[in-house]
């Protein structure tokens, strides 16, 4: 087996690569809206009397991107039962066979690379480079977990003494409910699904209500790769569908990526053993962040400024890893704030399909309202360096905001905003910055710009975050290179795209056999 290598992102600096994009989008547009199926086991369920879930283009809300029958409570029950049925055979398949299917799905995605990027772009307003990275990450997850699951299928070494044989194997947990977010509509849905499938669980996928089209594409890829019908059910729907899944007695593992509020609710609900349930549910929770970037006095601001600006505002800040707070050493705070503001002012706010765009529209109207009120709060409480002034009228746009001098305790410094708002604070020294980070309930990503190796050592030793990035941007974790996930209230410490992630989807079983027969050790 060849070593894992990341899927190369498109080399968009070459005109020949860029020139294919518009065509791919036009071809997709001609097919919109996509019809996404409700899949229960092997069955494509007719919409019948179900409501229709519709996703729209955040940049042009009148444009429908995908339509799907909305799953009901009865569908949830049917899907979990079908998954339990399918899991019996799927879990017994050879790990190599399952891996082969995931790799074939990855190959299908490679063949449909631009089509998939175009869909991510339209449904979630991700600009081309980010949409392409989403597809690459999905491919990486399929390949990486395929390889990891094969390795995990080998018995683990245990202590052996004469007369007994001990064996530890990891086996599938059963039915996995995947509840996926819209901000990495293909990658994260695919990652959680691939991890469960690779290790032998059957999956019931409840995608974000904003991105059923991308989930439909994932189901197509897996089917094209040869996944047995039934191993994946697809339940488009809103929050209630996810909630019903979580409470269902037949679900063994819940893989969730999303907001802290929903995540805590899932953990609470999953802890309750309901009638018909003979196991403890396990939750994999990737929640939000309030990610701080510390800038030391000896930082190279030429590098820090662009890296912070893109970490804060790319994809309009709608990443759990995005930079939210800059903690600047007082010696450079003023220069840094001025340059950050200047670099933010020249960001291009626009439609996702324009290559020039850095800040696309937000996902939906609610998000736009939320950012508008955050902007007003920033205005009341702090010193706004860059204001959210005029943005395009059509589309859920919010222009980037940079605000300094917020009073301690301002909610803008504490809650996750999930949009283009960056706060800048002056700190006495790096130690004070670490104290601030330490006091936060979140611990997802963090950044440090410093050149003194002693400073780097100090922050590395103190930081609670799951992913610390030194002298670079703090978003864009790459499978196998930056296993990703947070601590504290940002998640239960699992690392997507890392060597241990698959352990969440299996349970260990140990068999000890007495090999002595009448004094003869076999």
């Amino acid at each position: 087996m060849s070593a894992f290598a990341n899927e190369p992102i498109l080399e968009l600096r070459r005109a020949s690569v860029r020139s294919g994009l518009a065509d791919a989008l036009a071809q997709l547009d001609a097919r919109l809206p996509l019809e996404v199926p409700l899949l229960i086991g092997a069955d494509r369920v007719a919409s019948g009397s179900r409501a229709t879930l519709v996703s729209t283009d955040p940049g042009l809300p009148a444009r429908e991107v995908a339509r799907a029958p909305e799953a009901t409570a009865a569908d949830v029950d049917a899907a979990v039962r079908a998954a339990a049925q399918a899991a019996r055979t799927w879990s017994r398949e050879d790990a190599g066979l399952r891996a082969g299917i995931l790799r074939s799905a990855a190959a299908w995605m490679r063949e449909h690379r631009l089509e998939l990027s175009a869909l991510v772009l339209r449904e979630c307003a991700k600009p081309w480079p980010e949409a392409d990275a989403d597809v690459c990450e999905a491919i990486d997850f399929l390949e990486y977990y395929a390889a990891g699951a094969v390795a995990l299928a080998e018995p683990r070494p245990l202590a052996q003494v004469p007369g007994e044989h001990n064996e530890l194997r990891y086996v599938a947990r059963g039915v996995c409910a995947v509840i996926a977010p819209w901000n990495f509509p293909l990658a994260i849905a695919c990652g959680m699904t691939a991890a469960a499938l690779a290790t032998g669980s059957a999956v019931v996928l409840k995608p974000a209500e904003q991105s059923p089209g991308c989930a439909g594409a994932l189901a197509r890829a897996l089917a094209a790769g040869g996944l047995p019908p039934g191993a994946l059910s697809l339940l488009p729907g809103a929050g209630e569908v996810g909630a019903a899944l979580v409470r269902h007695p037949g679900v063994h593992t819940i893989a969730f990526t999303g907001s802290q509020a929903v995540g805590l609710e899932i953990i609470r609900a999953a802890a309750e053993v309901v009638p018909g349930q003979n196991h403890l549910k396990r939750v994999v929770a990737e929640l939000g962040g309030k990610n701080c970037v510390i800038v030391a006095a000896d930082a190279d601001l030429d590098e820090a400024v662009p890296a912070i600006v893109s970490s804060a505002f790319a994809y309009a800040g709608q990443k759990c890893s995005a930079a939210a707070r800059v903690l600047a050493h007082e010696a450079i705070a003023e220069a840094l704030a001025e340059r950050l503001a200047g670099a933010t002012r020249v960001l291009v706010v626009g439609q996702a399909q324009e290559l020039a765009t850095q800040v696309p529209p937000l996902i939906e109207a609610d998000a736009q309202d939320r950012l508008r009120s955050c902007g007003e709060q920033a205005d009341r409480e702090g010193h706004v360096l860059v204001a959210a002034d005029d943005v395009p009228a059509v589309g859920w746009f919010a222009a980037p905001v940079v605000v300094a001098d917020l009073p301690g305790g301002s909610s803008l410094l504490e809650r996750e905003i999930f949009g283009p708002l960056l706060t800048v604070e002056r700190v006495r020294d790096v130690e004070a910055a670490c104290d601030i980070v330490d006091a936060l309930p979140f611990a997802l990503t963090g950044g440090l710009f410093a050149r003194d190796p002693g400073t780097v050592r100090y922050v590395r030793g103190r930081t609670p975050v799951g992913n610390l990035y030194v002298n670079r941007g703090i978003t864009g974790a790459v499978v196998a290179r930056q296993p990703f996930g947070g601590n504290r209230l940002s998640g239960n410490g699992t690392k997507a795209g890392g060597p241990d992630y698959l352990l969440q989807f299996v349970e260990p079983r140990v068999v000890s056999e007495n090999t002595m027969r009448h004094g003869l050790a076999i």
């Binding site: 190279d300 601001l301 662009p306 020039a356 050149r451 190796p453």
Partner: protein, 451 residues
Amino acid sequence: MDSGLEQDIGRIGRELAAAFPAALRNPVRSVDARAMELAASDQELKAALFRFVDVVPACRSLDDLARHLTGFLEEVDGPPMPVTAAMRLAGTRAGRAALGAAAAGGVRHMAHRFIVGTTLEDASGPLRRLWERGAACSVDLLGEATVTSPEADSYAQRCAQTLEQLTRITAGWPARPGLEADSIGPLPRANVSVKVSALTPLLRPDAPELGREDAARRLRPLLLAARELGAHVHIDMESFDSREAVVGVVLGLLSEPELRDGPSVGVVLQAYLRDSGETLEQILAFARDSSSPGGRGRIPPLQVRLVKGAYWDHELVQARQHGWSAPVYEDKPESDRNFEALTRRLLDSRPLVRVAVASHNLRSVAHAIAYNRATGGEDRDLEIQVLRGLGDELQDALAHLGLRVRTYCPIGNLVAGMAYLVRRLLENTSNDSFLVAQAGGVTLDRLLSAP
């Protein structure tokens, strides 16, 4: 290649080598002999020294400086003697002050070799002395990265001032006919190199139009001013990420009616890029298309400065991180061979373009001179460019032999110049560096053999 040309290259190379100043002050020896030799021989130490040089401008005190130096040196396994001595020194406050002062002095000393002055006023003396020694100059304004519009405006304003001041300063210089005209016509004395990345904060590899338009907005007035002043503006090339925008902004502006008949403008071609031949054809096609009816190309012609390229490590690392094929040749001889092929293509394309060959590699330079002569060109129709601080000896040798030489002279303060300095130091200690080979005692015949 025919053996006659090879013989000429060898002869010219030996003439040049013989014309090097008597006491060979090879930069690698003299910059800071011990430190640079140590650095070239030990990768970890090299990394430590570069990281230190890089952070010097951000250090706030001698103590801070010494702490950084020892911090970097601590990461070197099995440090050589001078390093352990330095680390012992850092144990006390007084020791740190001494170490910090020594290190700061060392860096400043190195920087001054490469950077001709803090301001144009400071530099005017050295620039005039260069001229009197037989070398023209191109002035480059060092600066921090441009990340905001005001920074781009301020760089453009500095360039405009420099064009104007340099024109005034150079007007008082004595006549140097060999540096002031080629067979096409007069060559401006005032010559400023400009970076597109400093003229716009919007330079983005995936959206070159954005940076191109924003940079054009600031470059256009500079070109118009240069035309009025009779000065030359040379647009530098940087990493591959910005090449499309840089070529686009220059060719786009020169197509505008008001810039068709001036000023004198130059672009850069990087021979280490695998597709540099295509870029050259694009430039030549432009020059042909913008020809006057006589078919002689733009007057004054576009100048092409052929370089090997200074971002080799960056290009390779970036390509490897992204899983892309590298845009640069990975073997140095390939890029040397391409340099020679492009030299010939360029020299064959005159008078459509003016040719400047920028290299410290004796072989590459001798090849250009020999090919120019072999194809009937006059020496004054080939410009050889060198970098201040690295090509000083070659510059003197070229001037001594009556060849036309121009020295690229950065101006700015240490803080501003550090990125430039680090790049120069990298070149200087690279195992592939011609200068390192030259300093390391590789024979002249070997240095002059075909790549």
